[in-house]
Symmetry: none
DNA sequence: GATGAATGAGAATTCATTCAT
DNA sequence: AATGAATGAATTCTCATTCAT
C-alpha cells in the first residue's frame, strides 16, 4: 500500500500534488461524465490525464475515491447559484437571473451536469446523504423566501419546491439531453433556450 | 451450435418464445434502468428473469442485443403520446393533456424513462440514428401543428420545439431525478407535480 | 459474478463438482502448505490443479474461500486422534498410542501439519475462534480424563495441558521442521523418532 | 545512482549507518515475524522503522536483502545457547539449563523464533545451506558430547539428535504456537511450561 | 542521505461469451 | 431448450523497485 499523498491530509500540500490532483480530476470528470461510473475505467482516466495507471493510484487510493472527490468537490460549486438569490432584490428578476445562471452553467459545465445526472439516475448511492441534508436545507430556505415574496404579492402563487424542480429540470436538460436536443434541432440553441426559459418563468411568476 | 430463435427471424415464433422474450426484456429493463448499461451484468439480468445465463443468450445473442431490443421496443411506446395530439382538439387542452400523460408515464414507467435518460446521457450511442430521423420528424410535425395553432391565435407564442423540451424535461424529471425529489420533499408528490405543471403550461400557453 | 456451485449449497451436488472440489483443495493444500497464504497465488493453485484461473473461481468464490474451506475441512480430521483416547484403556498405553498416531499423521500428512502451523504462526487469523471453543473444549475434556487417571495413580503427575503441548510440539516438529531435521540427520528418521518419543513419554508417564 | 553503503562493504561504516541498520532490522523482524516473508511489505517495514521506502532501500538493496541480513544476523545468537553446553558440568543439569535458556528465549524473543519457524516451514529456501553445514556440525558436536556422557553412565540412553529436536520443539512451541497455547489456556503460562519441561527432561535424562 | 514521484510486473476478481451435453 | 462448465479479455489494485532531485 503506497502512501497516497492525498491520504496524509485532506488537501494536497505541494504545488506538484495540487497540479496533478487537478489534472486527474479534470480527466476523471471527462471520463465519468461520458461513460458513467461503471463505464469509466482507470485506464481511460489515466490516458486522459497523461499518467500511468499506478501513478493515478498514487494520488487517489481507488477509483471510488476519485469519483467521490470529484462529486464532493463539485457539489458546492454546483449549488452556489441558489445561494445567490437576493432577498432584497426584485422577486421575479431574482428568479429569472437564477434561471439564466443555471442555463449558463448547463452550457459551460455540461460534464458536471451529466456527472450529477448519472449519479442521481443510479439512485445517488454516494450523494444521497448530501441531498437529504444540505440540499434539502437549501431548498427549504429558498422555498421560505419564495413563499414570503408570494405572501407579499410580489410573485404569483406557485409551489416553491416544484418551481425549483422546474428550473433545474429545464436548464439541466440542455446539458444532460444535449444529444437529443441537437438531434432534433440540428444544432445547439442556447440563445433560443434562454429566451424560451425567460418567457416561461416570466409568464409563470409575474403576479 | 444452436441458433438463437431471435436470429432466425426478427420475431420469435412460438408462444413460449414470445413469453420468454418478454420475461427477459422485463428483467433487462429493471436491471439496465437501475445500473446503467455498463453496470448491468448478464448474471443479474438472468437472475432477475429466473433463467440461466446461457439460456438468456439462447434468446438474445449478446448483452448488446438485449439492450438494443429493449430500446427499440420501447421507443414507439415512449413517443406514442406525442402522436396523440389532436389537430381538431382545443390547443391548450391538447397540450395540457399531453403533459398530464407524460407525467403519468413518468410515474408509471420510471424504468423506461431512466433507460432513455441513461442512453442519452452517454451520447445516445445506439438510438442517435432514431433521434435524428424518427424523433426529429415527429417533432417537426408537432411543431408545425403548434405553429399553426399559434398562427390562428389559439395558443400563446412560444418556440414549439423548446416547448416540447420543457414538457419532456419537467415530466421526466420526476422519474429520472426521483431520488433527488424524494430527498428534498421527503416523499413523492405526483399530485403536486401534476397541479404545478398544469399551472406552468396553462400560464404559458393561454393566449 | 458467476454463480459458484459451491455457493448454492454447503456441499457440491454432482459427482463432477465433488471431484473438482477435491482436485482444487488438493492442489491448494500443496501450494498453501509450501508457500503460505500470502505466498500462494491462484495461478499456482490453478496450474497445480490443472485448471484455468477463472475455472478455479467458478468453484470457489475467492482465494480466501479456498483457504477457509481447506482449513475447515481439515480441522476435524486433524483433531480426531485426540477424541480416540479411550477412558477404559490403560492410561500410559492410550497416550503412547496417541503419540504414535500423531507422529504417523506428521509423516503421512505433512502438508496439513504445515498448513496449520502457518496459520497459527500468523496469529491464527482464521481459526482462532475454533481454537478458543472447540479445541479448548477438547483439551479440557482430555485434561479431565488425564487428571482422573492421575488421581487413580495410574499415570505420573504431569500438567495435562502442557503434556498435550509436548505431544503436539514433538510430533508435528517432524512435519513442520522436516527441512531442518533432514539437514541435521541427512535424511528422515521416522522410526528413530517413534522410538524416541515412545521412550520420552513412557519415562514421563509411568507412575 | 547512489550506492547503498551496505553494498560497498559488508558492514556499515559510520555510527549513523549502524544505527539505521539496527532500526531497519528491528522493524523488519517485527513485520516478517508477524506476516511472513511474502506477507510483509516494504511499506510496512518502512512505516514500522519510521523511514521512507526509498530510504529503506538506500540501506538495503532489496527486500530479499533485508530478510537475509536479518536471518544471518540472528542465526548465531539463536544457536548460541547450544554452544554453552559445558563438557565439564553435570550432564543432566547442563541440559536442563539449556532447556531453560531455550524456553527463556522463546519467551523473550518470540519474533526471532517465529521468523526461523516461518523460514523452515517454507523449506528454508535461504538458510538451508547454513543448516546443512553449521547447524549440522554443531549438532554433531553436541551429540558427541551427549554420547560421551551417556557412555560414562551419567545420562540415560536417548538418541542425542532426537533429544535436541525434543528440546527445540517443545521450547519453541511456546513462541511459535503462542496463539494456540493462549487459546487453550486462556493465557500464557511460562512458569508452568518451565516446570513442565524441567520434569519432562529430568525424568528422561536421569540415568 | 533523504524523499516525493513514478512504474512494470504481477495478483485477485469480474464478466461476456462459448462449449458440450 | 436448457444448463453446468469453462475461458479470454479486461479491470482494479498491490508492490518491489527505480528515478530525479
Amino acid at each position: 500500500m503506497n502512501k497516497s499523498p492525498a491520504q496524509d491530509s485532506g488537501t494536497p500540500r505541494t504545488r506538484i500534488q495540487r497540479a496533478k490532483n487537478e489534472v486527474i480530476l479534470e480527466a476523471a470528470l471527462t471520463v465519468f461524465a461520458r461513460e458513467g461510473f461503471r463505464g469509466a475505467t482507470l485506464d481511460r482516466i489515466a490516458a486522459e490525464a497523461g499518467l500511468s495507471k499506478p501513478n493515478l493510484l498514487y494520488y487517489f487510493p481507488s477509483k471510488d475515491a476519485i469519483y467521490e472527490a470529484l462529486l464532493q468537490g463539485l457539489l458546492t460549486t454546483w449549488l452556489d447559484p441558489l445561494r445567490a438569490l437576493d432577498p432584497q432584490g426584485d422577486p421575479v428578476e431574482e428568479i429569472l437571473a437564477y434561471v439564466r445562471r443555471k442555463l449558463e452553467m448547463a452550457r459551460d459545465y455540461p460534464r458536471e451536469s451529466r456527472l450529477f445526472a448519472g449519479e442521481i439516475l443510479r439512485g445517488a448511492p454516494l450523494i444521497r446523504p448530501v441531498l437529504e441534508t444540505e440540499l434539502r436545507r437549501m431548498v427549504d430556505d429558498s422555498a421560505a423566501l419564495i413563499a414570503r415574496w408570494q405572501g407579499e404579492g410580489r410573485l404569483a402563487e406557485v409551489d416553491p419546491r416544484h418551481l425549483l424542480f422546474s428550473i433545474w429540470a429545464q436548464t439541466q436538460h440542455y446539458a444532460d439531453f444535449a444529444t437529443q436536443v441537437q438531434s432534433v434541432l440540428g444544432q445547439d440553441d442556447f440563445d433560443g433556450a434562454a429566451a424560451h426559459l425567460d418567457r416561461v418563468f416570466r409568464r409563470l411568476l409575474t403576479p
